[in-house]
Symmetry: C2
Amino acid sequence: MDVMSAKPPTSLDVAREAGVSQATVSYVLNNREGMRISDETRARVREAADRLGYVPHAGARTLRTGHSGLVLVPLVDIPYGVLAVGIMEELDRELSRLGYTMIQYGARRLKGVAAARAWAELRPVAVIAPAERLTRQAVDVLHSAGIKAVVGLGVVGWSSEIVSTVTMDHEAIGVTAAEHLAARGCSTLTAIVPVEDGLREMGLRRASGVQRVAAAHGVPYTRVDLAFSEAAAAAMLDVWRDANSAGSADSVDGADSVDGADTAGRAPAKRGVFAYNDDYAMLLMAVLADNGFSVPGDVAVVGCDDLPLAKLLRPRLTTVRFDVATAPAVLAQALDEVVKGGEIGRHRLTLWTHALVERDST
Amino acid sequence: MDVMSAKPPTSLDVAREAGVSQATVSYVLNNREGMRISDETRARVREAADRLGYVPHAGARTLRTGHSGLVLVPLVDIPYGVLAVGIMEELDRELSRLGYTMIQYGARRLKGVAAARAWAELRPVAVIAPAERLTRQAVDVLHSAGIKAVVGLGVVGWSSEIVSTVTMDHEAIGVTAAEHLAARGCSTLTAIVPVEDGLREMGLRRASGVQRVAAAHGVPYTRVDLAFSEAAAAAMLDVWRDANSAGSADSVDGADSVDGADTAGRAPAKRGVFAYNDDYAMLLMAVLADNGFSVPGDVAVVGCDDLPLAKLLRPRLTTVRFDVATAPAVLAQALDEVVKGGEIGRHRLTLWTHALVERDST
DNA sequence: TTGTAGGCGTTATCAT
DNA sequence: ATGATAACGCCTACAA
């Protein structure tokens, strides 16, 4: 086989090589049932295809059959975590088990309907994208390009009448973390919300879970919007120190303080902080240590994601871990049904169970 | 526009809607130079396309023109880092500036030539894959499917006569780290090599850089093959303690110890450790602290990657940072030339400069 | 300036 | 059991 061969071999080339017709080649290579083709012919065709290095042309097949088997996943803009990577891997595995080909599409450069058009050019059978990228217009483009399943990944509360959505119950995560902190005797609950785009919305949801628990337990609740920097974290700590002596509401980095009333006059309360994720938890714990706070003595910290690094912190970090095992399989299955069923469904799936991993920081 | 429309509109539909021929539609929508088409006609065509939600069919275009503009990047098997993600983003940006569409392809499920066939079906103009996946057979398949540029990403030392390669000079990274450690007065140099598949090879390269520096400085050198677990790291430390008193070669986790001769009888030497990357450095520093070693007093540690988290360690981690800025642009440019040039080139690029970021751990 | 027609590689229908 | 042929949507040389 010549490496520099000008044109890739076609099924016609294979047919000639094997001395059969093009149709026979197609039947053999696609293992079509019902066609009675002699084993001898089958072998000749397969051998010819191998010898020529024949690979079918996906574009041509798509054109002819009307479906590509592609599932397109535009890369999300949020900072990747091991979690996201794990989910993608699992989803990929499930989809290929069902005969689909998952591809991740870059070109974050394109916005709105322009992006949707770029996706639609490939004529995928399904698009799985962050909910916020699926504007009404974008979805129209996708649908009119014949894409059967459009799935939006979002936070709970985001809702759309036009696409299926897979959501993550961020509020429940906040609840889990906060309940644990309350059980550990924290008399103040603080939720940290990142200011980064894409993370903020999830942070707010998680924080509202914390707030709910605080209300239920009759415990003061504070939300702090925090940039990922040591300086910002240190500023937050300064406010805490003031609050410990004075007992006033605190505000950092433009945060809205909600119910910052501290217990004045009594001994300093043990603070419980849900740090949004393990990265923020690590930031917080580093700065806490620098400023002489004791963890979990003065402050109890809960992270989220259960990064491998979380176990390496001292004290070891208590964190909320996602159970990634089942979600992608469920999603893939639902997607398959929508595609096969032919109808553009409006499913609602809330996925990803989670659990608290208790370690030393609480 | 009916959302549930059965068939996606074609360029013929647009032509009818605009009252022109199919060819005119193509000319207008592709902004073909040299064609003199009245502005009024152009407007009518564009408006019709918009109204119908027309999106060209990439497969059909590929079939007709013979090239897809796709650059396919099979997802790598190694644990993703922020670094890898950053590179992909940048590469994506550069490629789309040049008119290509980068897609990441999953299906890690498929191995060897089967994987190559799956890639080839999409008829990308280029494939950028980890060097180890590009076996002779796999590359044959890709070439005979007409793919112009096959680029292998690998470590320096991996070499192939059949594909272009982009390599990272891991040895130089080891040298940079080790030179710094030597300058900081370390009288013993240790290189940690991960045992994980995919990381190990890079680790060995980096370690050999450390070894070279050790030899140049006449300083004892040790290589330790380490699993990413606290237990393994603790075992390594036990060996170190023994060595400090006895002065024997050490071996952990099946490591080949190379020149483990310690300075016996003298005061305990200050050890310099290049921990392969920041993750391993963090593991090491956690376990060092647990065992009463002082950093950088007893042991100086250098990581690699400059993760955001590295600054949060106490002491702050000295690390080797990659300059990711230029590499993807260079790669994209080279790729474009190969594709445009039409010849299957055999380029050799060594990319990614790096620099030491000195902090407190040395 | 615009229209006509042929063909890219594949699969599927209909003959044989 | 196998072969001839049409059609999928698009681009482009050539004709008008």
